[in-house]
């Protein structure tokens, strides 16, 4: 029985007149865009890994990222601030899922509330990152400048900071554009554009992008802060 149903749906899917992927054009293209973006981030992270594997020493992330806002000078709290950043991004991803679901249910108010929460989460993440960049810059770290010695006490090259600022910067730029997209979605929701169209499909595409940003952070967080 189940095989026959699959067979009929397959013929229907490839019978023409509709997308064989069973999604609308924009969503499919968003998926393709995200796939290419995944390759870009993958290239960055693999390049980072290659350089790290090809050098004898590397700075210890726990000695580099050990402070948080309003902390006393010389505080030693590794992983604390970055775990807050990670949770902010996960929670903002959850509110985005809820916004997409509310859009499917045609609940305008719920969509708006969840989008606002997502935007707040995104801005909070960006503020955290701005603080961290500023803090590291004050310690003398920037592109081409690395004050942190390797974990074994030997002199380090600038590879560590170059990769850190390039990759988190690229990710931060994605978060920034995600926030802009979400703000546009919020304006369109509040001005009833989606109600007039009769569907909130655009929110789904913005949601895909936002989840991708969260997904990339999972990898960046692990590669730079944990291992």
């Amino acid at each position: 029985m189940s095989t026959t149903t699959t067979a009929t749906t397959t013929t229907k899917l490839w019978g023409g007149g509709r997308s064989p992927f069973n999604v609308e054009y924009g969503k499919l293209m968003m998926w393709y865009f995200l796939m290419s973006d995944a390759l870009t981030f993958g290239a960055f992270l693999i390049s980072y890994g290659t350089i790290r594997f090809s050098t004898n020493g590397w700075p210890d992330p726990n000695k580099v990222f050990k402070s948080y806002p309003f902390a006393a000078e010389g505080v030693n709290a590794p992983l604390v601030f970055v775990s807050i950043m990670t949770f902010i991004l996960i929670i903002s991803s959850v509110t985005m899922v809820l916004a997409v679901q509310a859009g499917k249910d045609m609940k305008k108010k719920a969509v708006a509330i969840n989008l606002i929460l997502t935007i707040i989460g995104g801005l909070a993440f960006l503020s955290c990152q701005a603080w961290e960049w500023n803090h590291l810059h004050n310690e003398g770290a920037w592109w081409g400048m690395n004050p942190f010695p390797n974990a074994d006490g030997t002199a380090s090259s600038t590879n560590f900071t170059n990769y850190f600022f390039t990759i988190t910067g690229f990710h931060g730029f994605h978060v920034f554009s995600g926030v802009i997209i979400n703000i546009i979605m919020l304006i369109m929701t509040l001005t009833d554009q989606f109600e007039k169209r009769g569907h909130y499909l655009m929110i789904e595409k913005a949601g895909l992008y936002w989840h991708f940003v969260d997904l990339v952070w999972v990898f960046v967080f692990t590669c730079f802060y944990l291992i």
Binding site: F21, I46, S54, N56, N62, K104, T222
Partner: protein, 147 residues
């Protein structure tokens, strides 16, 4: 009327799934962080490598939950899943090849470039010399590049 009832039902189901996935993601993150803290006190390279391997597996499972449930890919048509996932299998080869290459480059330099090897064993002075250290670093780096 019955249509709305089914719709409401589906919506509640989705919300339940979202809560479940959120809890899973949080727990995985907490385990990752706990392993990260645990790793700070360990010096044995073998054990560190093992913990790093576990962290990478946890990272991949987090990625799976985000893509499958938040991005809804698990509930899409098989064609779409394959179109997205199959090209990304290239990463298996990319990661293996490039990391192997990086490692091989390090071994070659350590074997055939005594100057590089010697440079990478010189300890730098601690914090007091922070500013001088910064100035010194630039020439060291250019030297390395010309090698």
């Amino acid at each position: 009327m019955s249509h709305t009832a089914i719709h409401e039902d589906h919506s509640a189901e989705v919300k339940k799934e979202v809560v479940r996935v959120t809890i899973i993601l949080s727990v995985l993150t907490i385990i990752e962080l706990a392993l990260g803290f645990f790793m700070m006190g360990i010096d044995a390279p073998g054990t560190r490598l093992l913990i790093k391997g576990i962290i990478v597996i946890l990272m991949l499972s987090k990625a799976f939950y985000i893509v499958a449930y938040f991005m809804h890919l698990k509930h899409e048509v098989r064609n779409l899943i394959m179109t997205i996932c199959v090209p990304l299998c290239l990463f298996f080869w990319f990661i293996t090849a490039f990391l192997y290459d990086g490692n091989s480059f390090r071994n070659l330099r350590n074997t055939y470039d005594p100057h590089y090897k010697e440079q990478s064993t010189i300890k730098v002075e601690k914090k007091e010399l922070k500013h001088e250290e910064k100035k010194e670093e630039a020439p060291v780096d250019t030297q390395r590049r010309t090698d």
